[in-house]
Amino acid sequence: MNEHPITLHVMDDLRRSRLTVFFRPLLSVPHIIWLYLWGAVAGIAVIINWFVALFIGRPAKSLQSFIAAYLRYVITVGAYLLYVANPFPGFTGEPGSYPVELELPTEPQKQSRWKTFFRIVLVYPALLVAAISIYPVVFLFFPLIGFAWWATMITGRTPRGFRDLGANALRYMGQIYGYYYLITDTYPCSSPYVGMALGSPVVVEAPVAVEAPVAAEEPPAPEAPAEK
């Protein structure tokens, strides 16, 4: 059983640019500023959505889409900082824009009003588990003092174990905040096998083609080999 409404897809290979790894915390500075700005608005949206969910029994779709984009963005920035992926992420949290992506429910789900009312309390045990098991892991990725940083700098690749460790940290955080932000009422799962898809892309519904392209090019095959 590895089903959870919030799943992390990791499509990137293990190759990393030493130049960007060396400067990665600094290269992330504009993202961190943008995270704060966007996060302030997203926080207000979560509060409004909480009232909406209490009133009508499910979150508002527009607010959920906005919060989901923010959460996807948080995870892509985290993936960049923890060397789970190589490319510099975009600023929009758009689905399908990054090789590490949090798949989130596209439609608001009906949620128990009791669970919604007590959400801020219910999330605490999961946050406690995260504080014990995930936050210390982050130090492994710190420049100069973190082993993962040194390993990546020396070999030009993130060791698979560290990549998976980072990905699991992000997966669990994504599930915690997805729960906290009312995107789902399924409780976050600390098992690394639930809600993790290594090597498989997010299935995005393609828009209906109105007109066939004249000379469609073959899309490039994903570089990452399928992993199990």
Binding site: T20, L26, V29
Partner: protein, 405 residues
């Protein structure tokens, strides 16, 4: 409208703009220092001592070499980056502006790495002469972290330039240049609040003297503050900061450490007060505004060959053009700065009426900063934001000659 009449109209508009530009530049260039003031030759060696003079010349010669490296290396590195920097586009999964930001940040990061050996060697030289107290590791790690602020600044610039370029095409500079002036205005205004200035509690006599000097100069007294730099350097300095309600005079703690007399400190305060009296920070912003428009226009022209600033491909060339044009305008910027500083010296002499203290101050500057009082002719052109100490002492003597001293 025919092609020739359009051309004529364009020439007329250009001529009118050029005339306005020259008029504004001439107004900013004018100072209250008498035009007929002739500076006498000053034998600085007799004032500071031959060995002190030799030491200052030796120190400044090597420092100039580092300065030249600091001018040339960025041009070389960014020229190479302009040629090959586009290869880093593959490192980005962001949109055009995000990718442009990444390319700009990587350009600065590569420049930091290229400059590191020269900067470490320069630190060694400054430490050898006791000018700087910063450690090597502290410098390397400190500048690495400081890159974060630089990255943020360059990302803001790229956001403005590429954002306007995507809206207005090659005319982005018309909207971008005023935004850069507005940012310059904001930075100048908030600088005193960001500099870690503390109240000057230990020098009540200097505070009283400042109020007296302000009255004499006909200017509202400006809060005197102190900036603790004792852990970083031994060099003395002071600066006028802020605009309107944020105006301050910031004295480095090193100038208050007992090496300078009360009279010398009053000259320093009068000099900084003169900058506020003559609205020199506003003038500096005006000068910046005069240059930012043509520089932005030239960058827009140059980057067209890479598809214009709407595409990230042009960002490495943008960096090179920007630094190249800033380097090209350095001599005129320095000349402008020297005129404002000379005027502040002149006003300070008028306000303090104490040429002996002024002369002693400038002689002390040679001893405490090790700056060559008589540098080669190209040194002030490239690096001189202030008149040389020999010129400053010469101005004191010229003032004395005019005022019967």
């Amino acid at each position: 409208m025919t092609k020739s009449s359009r051309r004529l109209l364009g020439l007329l508009i250009f001529g009118a703009l050029a005339g306005c530009w020259l008029y504004a530049a001439s107004r900013l260039w004018a100072t209250s220092v008498p035009d007929d003031l002739k500076l006498p030759h000053v034998d600085v060696g007799a004032l500071v001592g031959a060995s002190e003079l030799h030491r200052a010349q030796h120190f400044s010669f090597v420092l100039d070499l580092f300065g030249l490296a600091g001018l040339l290396l960025p041009l070389i590195v960014l020229a190479l980056y302009a040629k090959w920097g586009h290869r880093f586009i593959g490192e980005s999964a962001a949109g055009p502006i995000g990718t442009g930001m990444l390319l700009a940040m990587l350009g600065i990061a590569i420049l930091w790495m290229a400059m590191l050996p020269s900067n470490v060697a320069q630190l060694w030289w400054l430490r050898r002469y006791g000018i700087v107290r910063t450690g090597y590791a502290e410098m390397v790690i400190g500048t690495w972290f400081a890159l974060g602020a630089e990255f943020l600044g360059i990302c803001l610039i790229i956001l403005i330039v590429m954002g306007f370029a995507r809206l207005l095409g090659d005319r982005w500079w018309l909207a971008g240049a005023p935004v850069f002036v507005a940012i310059g205005l904001l930075v100048t205004f908030v600088q005193p609040y960001m500099s870690g200035l503390k109240p000057l509690n230990d020098h009540p006599a200097l505070v009283q003297a400042e109020q007296r000097l302000a009255k004499r100069e006909g200017v509202k007294a400006v809060p005197l503050k102190v900036e603790d730099v004792g852990g970083l350097t031994t060099a003395p300095n002071a600066e006028a900061m802020g605009l309107g309600p944020s105006r301050r005079i910031g004295l480095w703690s090193t100038i208050l450490d007992g090496r300078f007399s009360q009279g010398e400190l009053e000259v320093v305060v009068a000099h900084e007060l003169a900058h506020h009296k003559h609205n020199d920070l506003w003038k500096g912003l005006g000068w910046y505004a005069l240059f930012v428009f043509p520089i932005a226009y030239l960058i827009a022209r140059v980057t067209r060959r890479r598809g214009g600033m709407a595409v990230p491909l042009a960002v490495p060339l943008f960096l090179f053009a920007w630094v190249g044009l800033a380097t090209a305008t350095l001599p005129i910027d320095n000349a402008f700065s020297r005129r404002l500083e000379a005027e502040a010296d002149w006003t300070a002499l008028q306000a303090t009426n104490n040429p002996q203290a002024a002369k002693a101050l400038f002689v002390s500057f040679v001893r405490t900063t090790n700056e060559n009082p008589n540098p080669p002719f190209w040194d002030p052109i490239l690096f001189g934001s202030h008149p040389t100490e020999a010129q400053r002492i010469g101005m004191v003597e010229a003032w004395q000659a005019r005022n019967g001293g």
